[in-house]
């Protein structure tokens, strides 16, 4: 059986890729995708810990499902924001969006 640490290393790698995507990409959609990666890395962690530590309880899987639902909602809101942003400013490049400065 594959040891737990492999899963954790995989999840950490996935998270780091997602984080890199969020911080480094200019395209807002790509940032959104980075966020998805990070969420999924967390999910991997959750399910792995459930399987290796408390397989008799359902809590870990339920948690993962809730994260999916939140991620879906977040993408819906995020995409809606970007569409609206694109309509107004004709761009979705993250470094051109500095509305929070004001």
């Amino acid at each position: 059986m594959i040891p737990l640490s492999w899963y954790l290393i995989f999840a950490a790698a996935l998270f780091s890729i997602g984080l890199y995507g969020v911080l480094a990409r200019k395209n807002a959609i790509a940032i959104l995708m980075g966020i998805e990666l990070m969420l999924n890395a967390i999910n991997v962690n959750l399910v792995a810990f459930w399987r290796y530590r408390t397989p008799e309880m359902l809590g870990g899987q339920v948690f993962a499902v809730i994260v999916f639902a939140v991620a879906a909602a977040e993408v819906a809101v995020g995409l809606a924001l970007f569409i609206s942003l694109y309509r107004r400013r004709n761009t979705i490049a993250a470094d051109e969006i500095d509305l929070m400065k004001w």
């Binding site: 969020v22 911080l23 940032i31 993250a94 470094d95 969006i97 509305l99 929070m100 400065k101």
Partner: protein, 727 residues
């Protein structure tokens, strides 16, 4: 109605008329004078009913009509005010009611009621006449109606209220109230033609001069109240215990008893009100007012009020008189009265203004009354008060009628520079104004004391008798004054009515209207007939035909009935001689008087003496130098310039300067560097900090996230080090 209720009501109609005229009927001249005259008539009616009930009452002196109400709570007691009619106030009420009513009626004619409005008359100035065209188209100038007609009637209504209040009052406090109301009204009425600067000056002079006396009188009243705890006449003046107490208590001034001190203070009030020397100066100037006012102030009411007051307090003034020695207040009164009588009679000789002669004669006659009281002639003073009120009201109204007639002449000729009051411009008016002539002559004879026939003779004779009995020197002075009185009266009548008209204006004078002449006739009757009620019993020939009612009646006001004096020829002869000789002399000297010629008195006495007389011994100038100028100096130089602007303002400016220095120091040393500095420091450092931190607020999410990541890493490392590695 009971007599007491009626007495309460007597003063009310004129004051109601005053308020109604002022508030409502001001615009209607006819309504206003109807109200005022109607009110005077009601008061007259009430006074007559009260008077006749009073003389029909036995022992009125011991049991006068009294009625009073508690008015002012003073601790555990009340100050009572009320009304009282005793014999003295009854006779005063009698002459006040008659003269007031006559003056009210006369005023209607005097102020030209029924005449058209003036062409260019303005309120505050005498009417100048109006131009009217008759049926043939000829233009005439006729007298015009007084512009402030209603106002005049309102004021004299208030004046009458003051006098009635004073007369019916039963205590010194309400007497003082009436006294001051009259003071106010005389001020308003003397300055009735306030457009004239001289009238304004006269009104202020009258008000302030009488005020001097009033202050002393108020002091006297306060002192009396302190000593006795009451101001009621009967409780003080009809009460031997109180009088004895006052005589035996020494006052603050050594040598004077409390009674004498109070008496002198009260008498000083009379000096002001009755225009005695040295406060006589206001009365001649008061002639600036309309003539009915002169009659009102100088005959019927105000100056009489002063004498009435001293007669009223006579028991106090004379307390201690029983041993035959004149008390200090009486001595003072005898001196002031006699001196004033002679002093102002000499001035009257040299006056040419018809009203001024009468003004000085009023002062002189009031001096007679005061002197009479000073020698203990209580009844004589009262008698002369009454007769004088009648004949002096008559003379003033008569002079008003003369002036009116001459003003008519002025309107005819159109020469407005002529003084219609100057007797030198008159002459020969007896044919033009017969009613005025006869009534004026009767009044003049009464003033001069024409023997047997006139009221003035009997009252003056009684004063002489009292003076002879108690202080012969006073008789000498008064006799001289009476001689001068007869002389100037005769001079006045001669210059005004006798001979030929000396000017065109006098030629065109006309008799006044009936509203003016009827009061003259009625007053003339009293000026003759009122003397008959006081003829002494022992008088040769005519004595005893009519009982000496006046003496019996008025004498009863006193605690001890004054005894009638034994008859003596000396005062009688004095009286006869001075009056007849004076009249004859005046007639002889002035019958040939021509306009523009030197006054015969000036020829006889020399220019210097005449100038002194004509200028009233320069008393006005003296007072101007001694009181008015220093007062101005005090106000303008001392108070305003030195005290106010230099001392007070100086101190204030100094304070301001010092405060400025302290303020500057505080500002520069504390406020600016410390308070402002610290506040600025906080603000500036916040600003700089903000400037630093704003550079990291780029608004870009990704940079924020990098910052968050770095921070988390750093903090994690820190916590790791602190919690794990350092353990």
């Amino acid at each position: 109605m009971t007599t007491e209720t009626l007495i309460w009501l007597i003063p009310l109609p004129p004051v109601l008329a005053f308020f109604i005229i002022v508030l409502f009927t001001n615009r209607s001249k006819a309504l206003s004078h109807t109200l005022a005259v109607g009110a005077a008539f009601l008061s007259w009616l009430g006074s007559m009913v009260v008077f006749f009930r009073a003389i029909g009452t036995e022992h009125l002196g011991e049991h006068p009509f009294v009625s009073s109400i508690p008015w002012l709570a003073t601790g555990d007691d009340y100050l009572w005010i009320g009304v009282q009619i005793d014999p003295l106030s009854a006779v005063t009420l009698f002459f006040v009611a008659w003269t007031v009513l006559m003056i009210f009626v006369y005023s209607v004619g005097y102020h030209n009621f029924g005449q058209p409005k003036g062409d260019h008359d303005r309120p505050g100035l005498q009417p100048h006449g109006a131009t009217v065209a008759d049926a043939h188209g000829h233009k005439h100038t006729v007298p015009s109606i007084e512009p402030m007609y209603s106002r005049f009637f309102a004021f004299i209504g208030l004046f009458a209220f003051g006098m009635y209040t004073l007369v019916v009052s039963d205590n010194l406090l309400t007497l003082f109230v009436g006294w001051e109301i009259m003071g106010l009204c005389s001020y308003l009425l003397i300055g009735f033609w306030y457009g004239k600067p001289s009238a304004r000056a006269a009104m202020i002079k009258a008000f302030i001069t009488t005020r001097v006396g009033d202050v002393f009188m108020l002091l006297g009243i306060a002192y009396l109240y302190t000593m006795t705890g009451t101001l009621n006449y009967r409780e003080i003046f009809y009460n031997p215990e109180v009088l004895n107490y006052l005589v035996e208590t020494p006052s603050y001034i050594a040598g004077l008893s409390a009674a004498a001190m109070i008496g002198i203070l009260l008498f000083l009030g009379t000096i002001g009100k009755s225009a005695q020397w040295p406060l006589h100066v206001w009365l001649p100037d008061a002639m600036e007012g309309p003539t009915p006012v002169s009659a009102m102030i100088h005959a019927a009411t105000m100056v009489s009020a002063g004498v009435y007051m001293v007669i009223r307090v006579f028991p106090l003034l004379s307390a201690g008189f029983e041993n035959g020695q004149l008390t200090p207040p009486m001595l003072l009164m005898a001196f002031i009265g006699a001196f004033t009588a002679l002093f102002s009679a000499t001035i009257a000789v040299a006056q040419n203004d018809i009203k001024r002669v009468l003004a000085y004669s009023t002062i002189s006659q009031l001096g007679f009354m005061i002197a009479a009281l000073g020698v203990g002639g209580y009844v004589a003073a009262t008698f002369h008060l009454v007769t004088h009120a009648f004949f002096k009201a008559l003379l003033f109204l008569g002079s008003g009628s003369v002036i009116h007639g001459v003003e008519h002449g002025v309107l005819h000729t159109g020469d407005h520079h002529m003084d219609p009051q100057d007797m030198r411009n008159m002459g020969g008016l007896r044919h033009k104004m017969p009613v005025t002539f006869w009534t004026f002559t009767i009044g003049g004879l009464a003033l001069a004391g024409f023997p047997l026939f006139t009221a003035g003779f009997w009252s003056k004779d009684e004063i002489f008798a009292d003076a002879w009995a108690h202080a012969p020197i006073v008789l000498l002075v008064l006799g001289l004054a009476a001689l001068l009185t007869a002389f100037y009266t005769s001079r006045q009548i001669t210059m005004t009515f006798m001979g030929k008209p000396r000017t065109k204006e006098a030629e065109h004078a006309v008799e006044s209207k009936w509203t003016m002449t009827v009061p003259l006739v009625i007053l003339a009757v009293f000026a003759v007939a009122f003397g008959w009620v006081g003829i002494p019993h022992e008088f040769p020939v005519v004595g005893g035909i009519i009982p000496n009612w006046f003496h019996e009646f008025v004498g009863a006001t006193l605690l001890e009935h004054p005894e009638t004096l034994p008859f003596s020829w000396i005062p009688l002869l004095t009286s006869l001689v001075v009056s007849l000789f004076g009249l004859w002399l005046g007639w002889q000297v002035y019958k040939g008087f021509q306009v523009g010629s030197t006054d015969p008195v000036e020829k006889t006495l020399g220019a210097t003496v005449y100038r002194w007389l004509k200028n009233k011994y320069y008393f006005d100038e003296l007072y101007d130098k001694v009181f008015v100028k220093p007062a101005y100096w005090l106000a303008e130089t001392f108070t305003s310039l030195w005290m106010d602007r230099k001392v007070i303002d100086g101190v204030l400016h100094w304070f301001a300067h010092i405060s400025g220095i302290i303020g500057n120091f505080l500002r520069n040393a504390i406020d600016k560097p410390i308070v402002n500095g610290s506040a600025d420091l906080i603000a500036e450092s916040t600003k700089r900090l903000g400037a630093v931190f704003r550079t990291i607020q780029t608004g870009r999410v990704q940079q924020y996230m990098i910052l968050a990541l770095v921070s988390i890493a750093a903090f994690s490392a820190l916590f790791y080090y602190l919690l794990v590695a350092a353990r």
